[in-house]
Structure formats: C-alpha cells, structure tokens
C-alpha cells in the first residue's frame, strides 16, 4: 500500500499554524529542535503506514474483522473452509496420519 496523502514540511505546518488567529505561533526552529523526537516518530509512523505488501500479508489469518463488523463476510463459512482444508495441511498429516488415538483411562 502507498501513502498518497499530501505531505507538508514541519516548517510549512508551523507557518500555517501561526497564521490562524486563535493559535499560539510556533517557532519553526523549535519544531526542528526540542520536538525532534516527535518528528522522528511521525516519520516512523508514515514509514510503517506505507509498509510493503509482503509485511501486511504476513499478518496471521484472522476472523476478527468480519466478526466485529458483522456484515459482508460470513466468518462461519470462512472457518468451515479453513477446517475442511486442515486435514490436507502437512502439519496435520504429520501429527495424525496413522497415529494412535492414545491409551485411554476409563471413567467409571
């Protein structure tokens, strides 16, 4: 995903702020000085926001979105499809194919 939002330099932001009648003017040198960490954080956030698609694709499969939204996606159907495919997953076959169900302890 690419960030297409318009960007402004800190100086431009400070100038725009000072031109408003009901705000305290900000010295551009202060923005670049004492608030430098804030600026770094903002740049970092923007970098993450436009993270490569492969990073976003690595996020675990989730039913959260359709479930909380409650519309659009049938999460139970999604879950059924996942479980229907599970026996074909390599890890499932390794764990269960021709394995014993285990010694049982009888409940009286």
């Amino acid at each position: 995903m690419t960030d297409t939002r318009p960007t402004q330099s800190p100086t431009a932001l400070a100038t725009a702020s000072s031109s408003a009648s009901n705000v305290i003017p900000i010295d551009p040198s202060e923005v670049l000085g004492s608030n430098f960490l804030t600026l770094l954080t903002a740049v970092g956030a923007l970098t993450l926001w436009s993270a490569p698609a492969e990073l976003q694709a690595a996020a675990p499969q989730s039913l959260t979105a359709p479930r909380t939204a409650g519309q659009g996606v049938d999460w139970k159907a999604e879950l059924r499809a996942r479980y229907a495919a599970m026996p074909n997953a390599a890890w499932f076959r390794r764990a269960h194919e021709n394995k014993s169900l285990g010694e049982a302890i009888r409940i009286l």
Binding site: K76, L79, A89, W91, F92, A95, S100, A104, I105, R106
Partner: protein
Amino acid sequence: MARLVASEGLDQGAVLDDIPWGEEFEENAPLGIVLTSTCDLEHGHADFVILAALKPAQAVIQASREFRNKVEGAAGNALNRRPWDSLVGLLEDFVHNANIQRYFFVEAQAALGQPPLLADFQHVVSISLGRARACPVLATLPSPFREQLVTHFAAYSSRIGVERTPQPEVTALTDELADPYHGPNGAP
C-alpha cells in the same frame, strides 16, 4: 455433551482465533481453547494463557490407527455387525468423553457452524495474557464441561507408565473372576 456456546470473554474454555502456533501451523491454523483457570484470569494471577488446539474430529479419528484397524477388511463401506458395534463403541466414547485420552470432544455446530472438534492435549501453547487478550473470542465451553476439559488435560498430562501384567496372569485372574461362567470352548 460438551457443547460450545457463543461468547466474547476471555475465560477458561474460551475459543480463540489468531493464536501464534508457530510458522509451521500458519497453513489452516487451528482455533485454540483456553485451559488456564478462571480464577487465575479473574484475579490477575495469570501472566500467560495455556491453549489446546481444536482439530476436526472426523479427520483426526479417521486418520488414526485404531479407526483404520476397525474398518479394515470391510466390503466397501459396509461393516459386519461386530466390527460396526466395535466402531460405534469407539465413537461413542469420544462423544461422551468417557475416556481420558489425548483428545476432548466438543460439539461446535451452533456456536461456530462447525462439525465436531477435538481439543488436542498434545498440541498446546502458552502465550502472554496481553497476546491472548488481542485474540478474537469466538465461543466458549460452559461449566461444568470446561472444568471437565481441564480435568482430562491434567489426568492425561500426569499419566504414569507402568509395566503391563503378563497375559497368562491376567487370563488366570479373569477366569477366576468369571467362574462359574466360561468361554465358548468350555475351557478358559
């Protein structure tokens, strides 16, 4: 029967999605059911949450050695009376959770729209409480079945391997206990 119901709270018996099982399990990752005690979660004594994987019951059972042995020799899908009764006995034990073994049966149709599931006590993971709170809760296992689930887990985890008694000695004991009744050949 242990039947899942709708719920959104993190508690013992809660069914969670998005569990970090590890890279190997990302393909069709299973849901997990919380084994950690309610009181530990309620009183803030738990920093970590233990979960057991929920697997599709039919696939697990039918892939097993026991199931395959029972259907071996069947003509097509038709079993004779005795093998069928034996198979049904095995399956009923699962449905009723009559035995403590590796798996715990839960019915999931109403809450998850799923065929029956098995909690696998060999496939467990411990994750931080914060991570668990970030996982969506899809359903829960109500009392007293959640306690039964954990009792089975504890019993399964604490089994002690003992030597099996030699068969001749077992046969002598069963003959003694069955007396005066005996097998079809007259002799024990």
